[in-house]
Assembly symmetry: C2
Homo-oligomer: 373 residues x 2
């Protein structure tokens, strides 16, 4: 067999939609020798992680933990635990991850109703409220920060209130918002929210934070059928995270070391200063992009500070520019896809990646490349 | 909120059923700065990981990869991709993980037939062959190395041959065998085998190696219904691992760095020397345990070299001894559970944990504690 060499990867500036750059403190924590997944010391770390997760989710929800999978496992857990075959589910979709919500809900036998906005737009909350009045749903699922477009759905409290008035649970995807802009689970009265470690929390991918309201736990207890997914069954997961700490799976110890350290960094910085930092460097990026004649797809009021999506003029070769950014400057940004393929770039400034020097470097590199294209 | 301190865990000797101790090289590789999950350099690493996984599974199966979850996600993937509602599934269970196979198969709507041996025993292959002749099954699932008892199921080639003669696929749990004793997927003609990174491969938990035969891929392609699990759907996973490398989930980059390095260590040591090492230190442990009047539960011919299960005399306080091992010697071993609760300990010598000094230390510590109990 061919010789497989020492790990020798390039030093990338990760300015795409995630993973973001991981702070050295987090990498160091992750490299600590392992203790067992039932070691009293590890159970203590899990509790601390829960405390820190409640802080970033701005919630008192007891059932708040990190699932042993990536963000998509969070999405699947948020759906499969609350859907039984035949349940009516409303998905408000404004991009790729809204479509994935609908797709996954369908796998669990839900009767899925899709409410759609074109990629790049967002919903007027009144539109979702009207749909909720038209039919009784078990659950409403929507995306707070759409990673495929860079759009932020506002009006979550009004939408949640309308859903609850009809008896529906609210599932919110906060993958690209948690830790980078306000996510106020209790204040907004969201029932289930999930995220991913590798975005604005700046940890390595492989864990999905999730928080579940008392209302949703009640619904879980009232199921008539077992959860149709063993690995992501919150009944088993909560018995591991809470007393009696019964074995469910072997937790990804090292990733929990990392997430706990990443959350400590969030807590030290403080949520408000952290959100302000993400906002300030996003604004610096936006101004620079406009100056390069790369206007932003999303109007200011719905624009994510964590993920910016400049439009690519037809004269520019999308793939060639990204390739040169990677090969010549070690900068990763991402392509658009679906209906936005070739039309936008996706530039993430999340967590440790949200820094002045990264914005300046990227703008300088783009300037060089566009001038010589 | 209470101050949450720097990560400051104890230096444990991990001699339980996993996680095993992670070599410094693997920890170091894991702490490397991240590249993106679609970076050409990462796609290259994934290919190398596949090559190394084929080596330890002793297979040429093209569809060989590491799932983004722990060993249980491997078990669930091995079942959910091949089961459709109403399918007849035979589970040969000789312990906790056999029972979990049956439980998970049931979640996917299988008509599950359980063939059972008491915990600690194994099957005569003829018994499974007879059951396969009695009814037509879509799939036979069984455990090669039962982590709850320390028993090794022998006769896998005969069992697989009998299953194929009846048209059934063979799913084999190799969680506690892969990398520590022979697992010969192609020679044995097993269709689906899965494992976990944190056992005899000595990597951090969070990835589940899996390999799938051409026969099983054919069955996957012939499904009438979508796989009832999105995250573990091999159709989506193979499109990410193979060209066109389409986005499915954000791979746990750091864990892949670790697994690739751990597999390189396996390749450098060589499979046969590695198996011999596991055997030699297991024998050293067994002799020492017998000398301490802690006879092994499993007869020699079915005994796992990776996980030993001494019986605890009634005079000994199971929990107190384990607590003293942990508190006074920083040694983790595990309790028995289910029908073996309080009756056995589970001592793992896997991967980097399988070393002379660990055996000597554990035997010495046990001797001290039992003398002063």
């Amino acid at each position: 067999m061919d010789m497989i060499s020492d790990l020798n990867t390039s030093s990338r500036f990760l300015l795409g939609p995630g993973p973001s750059m991981v702070p050295p403190r987090v990498l160091r924590a992750m490299a600590s020798p392992l203790v067992g997944h039932l070691d009293p010391e590890f159970l203590q770390l899990m509790q601390e992680e829960q405390t820190l997760l409640r802080l970033v989710f701005q919630t008192d929800n007891e059932l708040t933990l990190a699932l042993p999978g990536t963000g998509t496992s969070g999405m699947e857990a948020a759906l499969c635990n609350f859907i039984e075959p035949g349940d009516a589910v409303l998905v408000a979709s404004m991009g790729f991850f809204g479509e994935r919500l609908a797709e996954i809900a369908g796998r669990y036998g839900a009767q899925v109703e899709r409410l759609e906005r074109p990629w790049g737009e967002t919903f007027d909350p009144a539109e979702i409220e009207a749909a909720l009045k038209a039919r009784k749903y078990k659950l409403l699922a929507l995306v707070h920060a759409e990673t495929s477009t860079g759009a932020l759905q506002t009006g979550i409290p009004e939408i949640a209130s309308a859903a609850h008035a009809q008896g529906a649970l609210v599932v919110l995807d906060t993958v690209t918002s948690l830790g980078g802009l306000p996510v106020e689970i209790d204040h907004w009265d969201v029932d289930v929210a999930y995220s991913a470690a590798q975005k604005s929390l700046s940890c390595p991918p492989g864990l999905a934070p999730i928080t579940v309201s008392e209302r949703a736990r009640q619904a879980l207890r009232q199921r008539k059928t077992p959860v149709a997914n063993w690995y992501l069954d919150l009944n088993g997961l909560e018995k591991y995270w809470e007393a009696p700490h019964a074995y469910h799976h072997t937790a990804p110890i090292s990733l929990h070391y990392a997430l706990r350290e990443g959350l400590r960094i969030v807590e030290e910085e403080g949520l408000e200063p952290r959100f302000a930092r993400h906002r300030a460097f996003a604004e610096m990026l936006w101004e620079g992009l406009e100056n390069l004649d790369l206007p932003l797809l999303i109007p200011l009021a719905q624009r994510l500070p964590t993920l910016s999506t400049p439009q690519i003029p037809p004269s520019i070769d999308d793939a060639a520019v990204r390739r040169r950014l990677l090969d010549e400057y070690n900068i990763e940004i991402a392509a658009g896809f679906g209906p936005l393929k070739g039309k936008i770039w996706r530039i993430g400034l999340m967590g440790h990646s949200s820094r002045r020097e990264h914005v300046r470097l990227l703008l300088g590199a783009l300037e060089d490349i566009l001038a010589s294209a």
